[in-house]
Symmetry: C2
């Protein structure tokens, strides 16, 4: 059984990977083929749908990186983990917490909430 | 549309109500008939299933009360809210965050995570 920290780490790695072929491998490791992702700003389905979301975020924030914040927790097929997003050498600009459903060590669905965002 | 704070408030009210008839009305306000609830410790389905969980918690912690912690947030049919549980006039003993799916102003599913618990 894949542990919660590995599952969350696979997720973060996929969001940080800009090279399409490397990212496709990471997406396959992190997500089931029928992954459904949604947060307050965007949603997507399948590896291609998630790749499009990642492309959009990377284009908008090209010098930002995701990192895991705190310790993932969970029970049954549920996982919760928190992340930071900001300049690689600076303080976080965005923070969030994602709730996922796990199937065979991969995320089958993700619902993301924002914990911190710049004032608009 | 029922706002997120009302939905979370209905949930807290049901968990705090000990009288069966009053609680049945609160359960109907807070949850769909097919509500599915789960957290790291317990799970239940339907109003009767939730009532049994509430009875168990109230018997174990008879002088404790739930209260809402912070502001509920959400998007689409998703809601997130946090709660405290402890003596009515004292500091919290347990804290948690629940993620729910909303249907017509009521919770259709709830997945609960613990944020604070006494060391065992």
């Amino acid at each position: 059984m894949t542990d919660l920290k590995t599952i969350a780490g696979n997720y973060i790695a996929a969001w940080n990977e800009a090279a399409p072929s490397a990212r496709e491998a990471l997406l396959s490791r992190a997500f089931t083929a029928d992954i459904r992702y949604r947060d307050p700003i965007m949603q997507g389905e399948g590896h291609d749908g998630i790749a499009a979301l990642i492309d959009g975020v990377q284009q908008q924030f090209s010098d930002f990186r995701f990192s895991l914040r705190g310790e993932p927790d969970g029970f049954g097929d549920a996982i919760r983990f928190s992340w930071s997003f900001g300049p690689a050498d600076g303080a976080s600009v965005f923070e969030g917490t994602d709730i996922g459903v796990i199937e065979n060590g991969r995320l089958k669905s993700v619902t993301g909430f924002l914990d911190k965002a710049p004032a608009q």
